[in-house]
Amino acid sequence: MRRLNGNIFAALVLMAALALIVIYSREFESILYRYFSSKSTTGSRTPLLVYFGQHIWMVLVSSVIAVGIGVGVGIFATTKAGEEFREPLLKVVNLGQAFPSPALLALAVPILGYGYEGALIALVVYALMPIVYNVVVGIQEVPKDVVDAAIGMGMTPFQLYKKIKIPLALNVILGGIRTALVINISAATLAAAVGAGGLGVLVVNGVRTFDMVLILQGAIPVTIMAVIVELLLKEAQARLSF
């Protein structure tokens, strides 16, 4: 119990820190100036809050879509009807996870155009892969004898998924969602390179101008966000799975 509360406590502390950074962005900036060199002039930039909002929105939308599609496709692949898709699908998502995310985003531009939509779709595709993979593997790993007993007791295929397969695979499924979200938060940084905004704008501009302050102003909130999501989903995993 103490370990569980530890996750939430750490997440709350980090959320407070993140809120402070976003609200008092000027002060945060001046602290960074004290330790790192910078060429940029302050005052002319978009407030951190705007980038932060764009970033969260992009992650949120792409994650919700990815979880919806990923869980659906994953479950379908474990059914009798989806049996023949299962192996090829697993191969694709497995390889896809090794595909570099900047390359995927760069590919999205010529196909989908410059801007928010292209970035969003690339993020969805990228987040889909660990989710689909874990849903399929999680459900396949439900012990055969347990499934056998459940069918033998007269469960319909729907009841079998609802009462047995999904609850027993939940730990693995949530693990996949956790991976997807954490990857998504950092991959969304690259979306700035295709003109989709977000905290990545600071990072990309900072890299271009060798400006440490700018890079850190973008990178630190992104990192904190990823850690918060990681902690919260870990907690959810511990509580929801048996």
Binding site: P143, D145, G152, G154, M155, Q159, K163, F242
Partner: protein, 309 residues
């Protein structure tokens, strides 16, 4: 209660069950005995449509098996498998309540039923109903598995090596208890095993299978003592008679002669009585307030042979 006629189940060219016919009467415990891969589990799974027959007819309660909705058929048949398959994310209560819940029983009725069943299989309801399967010993888990299969009070029980994963000492206890339960509830049971002692101890009739076919189907006494089949003989290796003795309670054959020598427990079988005699070297052992002699056992065996010849 269950009738199979010329049933075949093929996987490609391989016939797991080959033109098999058998019937199980109401209240009967039929044991299907045979080596691994002889088709005994498949035969069992054909009865609740876990496996689909290739040809032949199967009737359950005088109704053609295809006339049932699959799920409804299974809800009316208890099913126990060797690995038990308890749902690890549900406590004992929920595991046992599965079928009643699928059938939409009221919570109160389920509660009562779960308690009843736990008592039936010898587990204290207060102590066990909230436990998770991982907190149970092998024997306890198997008891819960039996309780779960009995939950909706089905007429038919299909059991696939249910005690196979339990240690020998607990297995014998479970077998004896299960025999008691079956006699009390008068369920129709098909029990698959490769354990000869178990088959002889439990079965009203034994069906011996090999290569997907029925080799022998009769009462344990007849199958063991009057087999005309080499495969059956090789199966029992001439020791079957000892196991037949384990079907008989010593108390039932007790003579009113008091005996001061070694004593066997009240629920001991004739096999145990014989073992005790071999141990002590006396030809008589004490049971309850009487005793039983070696000659008496010979007499019983002789009568069994005569009776069935």
């Amino acid at each position: 209660m269950i009738e199979m006629q010329n049933v075949t189940k093929s996987y490609g060219d391989f016939k797991a069950v080959d033109n098999l016919s058998l019937h199980v009467d109401r209240g009967e415990l039929l044991v299907i005995l045979g080596p691994s891969g002889c088709g005994k589990s498949t035969t069992l799974r054909l009865m609740n449509k876990m496996a689909e027959r290739t040809s032949g007819t199967i009737k359950i309660k005088d109704k053609e098996i295809d006339s049932f909705v699959e799920e409804d058929l299974r809800k009316g048949i208890g099913y126990v498998i060797q690995s038990i398959g308890l749902f690890p994310h549900m406590n004992v209560w929920k595991n046992i309540a599965t079928v009643p819940q699928l059938l939409g029983w009221e919570e109160k009725k389920i509660d009562k039923r779960v308690e009843e069943l736990l008592l039936l299989v010898g587990l204290d309801p207060e102590k066990y109903k909230d436990k998770k399967p991982s907190q149970l010993s092998g024997g306890e888990a198997q008891r819960v598995g039996v309780a779960r299969a009995l939950a909706s009070d089905p007429d038919i029980l299909l059991m696939d090596e249910p005690f196979g994963a339990v240690d020998p000492i607990n297995r014998l206890r479970l077998q004896k208890e299960f025999r008691q339960i079956q006699r009390r509830l008068q369920k129709t049971v098909v029990f698959v095993t490769h354990d000869i002692d178990e088959a002889i101890l439990l079965g009203d009739r034994i069906c011996i299978m090999n290569h997907g076919k029925v080799v022998s189907l009769d009462t344990p006494e007849k199958v063991v003592l009057h087999s005309e089949d080499d495969f059956v003989d090789s199966f029992f290796k001439g020791e079957g008679i000892l196991t037949i003795l384990s079907r008989k309670n010593a108390e039932d054959y007790m003579e009113g002669i008091p005996w001061e020598g070694a004593e066997i427990p009240q629920d001991a079988t004739l096999k145990e009585a014989l073992s005790q005699m071999l141990l002590t070297g006396d030809d008589r052992v004490s049971v309850k307030d009487g005793s039983i002699s070696f000659n008496r056992i010979l007499q019983v065996v002789g009568r069994d042979i005569n009776e069935k010849a």
